[in-house]
């Protein structure tokens, strides 16, 4: 019992919370970047420009079918071969943005597909170009359908940041490892603390997501 009380000292918890800040910081930056990049890729799959949609589709397929862990390795250990040696946090952000963009591109693609083709045709028939029809008519409907999926993707993203521990990013899981690295008795308490923190953040987010989803429909 005393072990658990010692494990949950304010110093240790504060150390975890510092990690949580990094976890959330990385998640938010990655989410924003990959929302923009992924949306663009998802939309481009519908643009009738030669080779573009096929190329984007190929990239998405490659990214989605590799383990995130491998993408993190490639970024951190591979990029230096191309003359860029990223710090651990930028490396994690780049790797996760690549991965998430692929995931979001696919979500956006199916979101757009869920909007009846007649919406696009109706808009195009009045003289709107592809971008105008997408922006004013198709995307507002598509994103509304996508909100629940996007939120659950964000939840996965937050959990996936724990993989960045492999390149020693000071996110929450890594911080926990440092704590029990100094005292092996704290191993289980730290795992419990981690589980609680991830659960609270992710579950709260899921709740908000489903509330927003219900509100919009």
């Amino acid at each position: 019992m005393q072990t658990w009380i010692n494990a949950f000292s304010w110093i240790n918890i504060r150390f975890l919370l510092l990690g949580l800040k990094v976890t959330l910081g990385i998640s938010v930056i990655v989410m924003v970047l990959s929302f923009v990049i992924g949306s663009l890729m998802g939309i481009l799959r519908f643009a009738k420009i030669k080779y573009v949609s096929a190329t984007v589709g190929f990239i998405v397929d490659v990214v989605r079918n590799l383990p995130l862990l491998l993408i993190i390795f490639f970024t951190y250990f591979g990029l230096p071969n191309f003359g860029y040696r990223p710090d651990v946090i930028p490396a994690a952000i780049i790797a996760m943005t690549v991965f998430e963009s692929g995931m979001i591109a696919e979500i956006v693609r199916s979101g757009i597909q869920s909007v009846a083709t007649g919406q696009m045709e109706g808009a195009r028939s009045t003289g709107m170009n592809f971008a105008q029809a997408m922006w004013h008519v198709v995307l507002p409907q598509a994103y509304k359908h996508m909100i629940p999926t996007l939120v659950s993707q964000l939840v996965s993203l937050i959990k996936d940041t724990s993989l960045a521990t492999i390149i020693v990013v000071p996110e929450m899981t890594q911080q926990a490892q440092i704590v029990y690295g100094q005292n092996a008795n704290f191993t289980l308490p730290m795992f419990v603390a981690l589980a609680l923190l991830y659960f609270v953040v992710c579950f709260a987010l899921s709740l908000v997501g489903s509330l927003v989803g219900k509100q919009l429909n």
């Binding site: 009846a116 007649g118 919406q119 045709e121 109706g122 808009a123 195009r124 028939s125 009045t126 003289g127 709107m128 170009n129 105008q132 004013h136 008519v137 507002p140 409907q141 509304k144």
Partner: protein, 245 residues
């Protein structure tokens, strides 16, 4: 002066030959009705005119734009060519007024006040001024189609295409839509091409009737002559079956 000119146009869906050697000329101001059995290529033909479908052979000229030329900008062509769809295709995320005002605002940059005035006049014309603030899902099928007609007119098209405008409607709503179409096509200088299965309406509104079967234009005659005395056996057969109902 012709508004639409098909010269030996071909269209394929994979191996399926959807339009075969289409030759057709429609003059400015004409109201032409396109009839024929399902799968005969009527909708495909009408959709090639505003380039919702591409063509694979021959030449197609619409309002002086050569659609067989890959440099032709479909967006510019479509400013002058309206379309009314079988399933209305109203923008589900916008209210009735916004449905009508969107294209004039962002495509032809009509000033906001004028745009709104025009939209209200159009709603008045189709008898739905009181529905301006409603969302499409709150309207009946007939009302939706009347809004869609107003929307297509908002761009002041020179040519209006109707692709089975009453086929998705409940029977008791067909008439209100046909009345509006009649009003639109008869009052203006606009050229109209209408795909329909409503023979009584066709007889009343058409200057000319085109009968299609299996991707061919089988018959092309003025309305009176066609309904009184169709020339081909296929058209006679078709008419007798339809009118028997």
């Amino acid at each position: 002066m012709s508004m639409i000119e098909f010269n030996n146009v071909q269209k394929f869906y994979g191996k399926f030959h959807a339009l075969r050697n289409i030759n057709l000329k429609i003059d400015k101001g004409e109201t032409v009705v396109l009839i024929g059995p399902s799968g005969s290529g009527k909708s495909t033909l009408i959709r090639t005119i505003n380039q919702l479908e591409s063509i694979e052979g021959g030449q197609l000229i619409v309002n002086n734009h050569d659609l067989s030329d890959s440099k032709t900008d479909a967006n510019i062509l479509r400013r002058d060519v309206g379309m009314v769809f079988q399933h209305f295709n109203l923008y589900a995320n916008k209210n009735v007024l916004e449905n009508i005002m969107l294209a004039p605002r962002i495509v032809s940059h009509v000033p906001e006040a004028e745009n709104k005035q025009r939209a209200m006049n159009l709603l008045e014309m189709v008898g739905l001024a009181d529905k301006a603030q409603n969302m499409p899902r709150q309207l009946s099928g007939g009302q939706k189609q009347r809004v869609a007609i107003a929307r297509s007119l908002a761009m002041r098209p020179k040519l209006l295409l109707f692709d089975e405008p009453t086929s998705a409607l409940d029977p008791e709503m067909i008439d209100e839509v046909l009345q509006v179409i009649k009003k639109v096509t008869m009052a203006s200088e606009m050229t109209s091409l209408i795909v329909t299965h409503e023979m009584g309406f066709a007889k009343e509104v058409a200057d000319r009737v085109i009968f299609m079967d299996q991707g061919h234009i089988v018959e092309d005659d003025d309305s009176q002559a066609f309904f009184n005395q169709p020339q081909t056996e296929r058209a006679q057969q078709f008419l007798s079956k339809i009118i028997a109902h």
